[in-house]
């Protein structure tokens, strides 16, 4: 078991290394922050002075070593734009992103699962049509459009909810709904087809023949088994959700890391971009690692595979 864990950790570190080098190189290929930090009319000497001040005149490998060395100590450099430590910026904005993702994921699973089950149980009838409509809307409406429609309707027209920003629970509703759109549809479709599969399986047929009550069949067997692929998909979708959240964050002025990263790239704020991508990657890879180890602990066959 220990060997397995060590091996997996080693591979995870390898992934992190590849990730860090990739982002390091990519952001530097995009250009020079000095041009953006100075006036458009600044002379070359002014720009060079800025570069020296920020440590950007050194060679890339030197900069990389400096960055990694600092990162291991928890120092991710100072944001070129905000002049505060990049790490502090990240931890400050992270809770907002996690809150949004958690809320959106919860909505997508609650609505997706319930409507999906209802659609499967009442296949071909009213609930199925509702499900199909939700799926269509969720899959074909871009989140920014949905978000703006929600703001216009619920905030400006009905005055029920605040337009934007983070604050109370009321502030969370519309951004979470806008972000969850696509995922609700995807989870609903999968739940429905998964349930249909299970409901048509021999096991369920046998249970029905035996005369067991329908509710027992549904709850005890169908539901649990239909759940497995959906939860797996939800896990994969969580990363995607955090990635695409930047659109919702822009529309609703939600102070998350998606927007931080987007602006970081725009301003060529190297430390911020490196930090956000690296720390985000650490979380994703760590989560994958934990799941892998858990699976291996539950199912010994996996860890024996060379």
């Amino acid at each position: 078991m220990t060997r397995f864990i060590l091996k997996r950790c080693g591979l995870a570190l390898a992934s992190l290394f590849i990730l860090s080098v990739t982002i390091f190189v990519l952001i530097r290929l995009t250009g020079d922050p000095a041009t953006l930090l100075a006036a458009p009319e600044a002379k070359e000497a002014d720009l060079q002075a800025i570069r020296v001040q920020l440590g950007l005149d050194r060679s890339w490998p030197v900069q990389y070593v400096h960055f990694v060395g600092g990162a291991l100590r928890g120092d991710f450099g100072t944001s070129l734009y905000y002049r505060v430590p990049a790490g502090a910026l990240y931890w400050q904005r992270l809770p907002a992103s996690l809150q949004l993702a958690a809320a959106a994921m919860a909505i997508s699973l609650l609505v997706g699962l319930s409507v999906g089950i209802l659609a499967a149980v009442h296949v071909g009838r009213w609930w199925d049509s509702v499900g199909k409509l939700i799926a269509l809307l969720g899959l074909s409406m871009p989140s920014f459009w949905l978000g703006l429609l929600l703001i216009y309707f619920f905030a400006v027209y009905l005055h029920w909810l605040p337009t934007s920003g983070r604050g109370t629970a009321a502030h969370l509703v519309m951004p979470a709904v806008a972000l969850s759109g696509y995922f609700t549809a995807a989870h609903m479709r999968l739940t429905r087809s998964s349930m249909l599969d299970v409901l048509g399986s021999d096991y369920v047929k046998l249970a029905r023949l035996k005369g067991l009550p329908e509710s027992w069949v549904l709850v005890k067997h169908a539901f649990k088994n239909a759940l497995i692929p959906v939860v797996t998909l939800a896990g994969i979708n969580l990363v995607l959700m955090i990635n695409v959240a930047v659109v919702v964050e822009t529309v609703f002025a939600w102070p998350g890391i998606g927007r931080l990263l987007y602006e970081g790239i725009e301003f060529r704020d190297f430390p911020v971009v490196q930090t956000v991508v690296l720390l985000g990657g650490v979380m994703v890879i760590a989560a994958n690692l934990t799941v892998d180890i858990l699976y291996a602990w539950i199912d010994p066959r996996i860890r024996l595979e060379r």
């Binding site: 591979l11 995870a12 390898a14 992934s15 992190l16 590849i18 990730l19 990739t22 982002i23 990519l26 952001i27 290929l29 995009t30 250009g31 799926a135 269509l136 809307l137 899959l139 074909s140 409406m141 871009p142 989140s143 920014f144 459009w145 703006l148 429609l149 216009y152 696509y182 999968l190 087809s193 998964s194 249909l196 599969d197 692929p229 994969i236 990363v239 995607l240 990635n243 695409v244 930047v246 659109v247 822009t250 998606g258 990263l261 987007y262 790239i265 725009e266 971009v273 956000v276 991508v277 985000g280 990657g281 994703v284 890879i285 994958n288 595979e305 060379r306």
Partner: protein, 304 residues
């Protein structure tokens, strides 16, 4: 079962009906084809191919003095601009028709590229197993951990925004989906008898992958692609919103949505409604088609 003819009827048919058995097969399949998605996709294709002839105006040149004209049936609209004009005075209907070309092309190409790459990687990873599989899956993990949006912006900066870049970006985002799913399928396929026989018979790895594995997973790829095409077309809108989508003034539907968002607030709903409807219909068609294909090709594919 579609395509087969009841034995009892065949003799009677051959005596009386002019239809030969081959034609009857086609007719039976044709009966089964889903009308709605095929019609929608057909209309979109016609629009895409014949936009030059069908469009009443140039989609790119507009007249600022005619901006935000409402559709013809509303007060202030006229028949020259059936669906109204946008913020630069360009005809919405013409842009819609030309936009079909771009959106469909981008969507289709991205799905094909993502599918080809993802399927290939999935097959190799799943078939070879062991350390190759591990290595590839770690790379996939690292790839997924890289934020898609920054990837999109980097490409836009390094190569300049263009349709080709959108295809690359979108393919780059979605290929991992294929890789994971196909890999799972290949892992289970490996245990099948005919594959094991082929291995025992000393067939080369490539032959096995090409002959036995690929035909079996291609159905999954195709069904997955129909879902992905829809997602790609919507993703194009999100990329345009962020400023890294199809460059203006090309009338991609997603870009029309992004451009028109302010107009929406001021009551110019037609600027976004029509491209939004177009996107919705194409996504609907793609999904219905995917459902139909899934049922026809292999009911086991429900897991997608």
């Amino acid at each position: 079962m579609p395509g087969s003819i009841p034995a009892s009827a065949s003799s009677a048919d051959t005596l009386v009906s002019p239809w030969s058995p081959a034609w009857r097969r086609v007719r039976d399949v044709a009966r089964d084809v889903p009308v709605v998605p095929v019609t929608i996709i057909g209309v979109a294709l016609v629009a895409a191919l014949f936009a030059d002839a069908l469009a009443p105006h140039d989609p790119v040149l507009g007249n600022l003095r005619h901006r935000h004209r409402p559709p013809a049936w509303l007060a202030g609209g006229d028949a020259t601009h059936l669906l109204g004009t946008d913020h630069l005075g360009r005809d919405i209907l013409s842009r819609l028709l030309f936009g079909a070309r771009i959106s469909l092309l981008v969507g289709f190409t991205a799905a094909v590229v993502a599918g080809a790459l993802g399927t290939a990687v999935g097959i190799v990873s799943g078939y070879y197993g062991r350390w190759v599989d591990q290595l590839i899956m770690r790379l996939v993990d690292a790839w997924i951990a890289l934020p898609a949006i920054s990837f999109a912006i980097f490409l836009a900066v390094l190569l300049g925004p263009s349709e080709m870049n959108i295809v690359i970006i979108l393919a780059g985002i979605f290929w991992t989906r294929y890789a994971r799913v196909i890999r799972g399928e290949v892992l289970s396929l490996k245990e099948r008898d005919y594959v094991r026989l082929a291995i025992v018979a000393n067939c080369s790895k490539w032959t096995i992958m090409r002959r036995h594995i690929l035909p079996n997973v291609i159905n999954t790829s195709i069904v997955l692609s129909t879902l992905i095409v829809g997602v790609v077309i919507v993703a194009e809108a999100a990329l345009s919103f962020l400023g890294v989508g199809v460059p203006p003034p090309k009338p991609a539907w997603g870009l029309m949505l992004a451009d028109g968002k302010e107009g929406m607030m001021a009551g110019y709903w037609w600027v976004t409604l029509f491209p939004g409807l177009a996107i919705m219909l194409v996504v609907l068609a793609a999904n219905l088609l995917g459902d139909w294909l899934r049922v026809r090709l292999d009911p086991q594919l429900r897991q997608l």
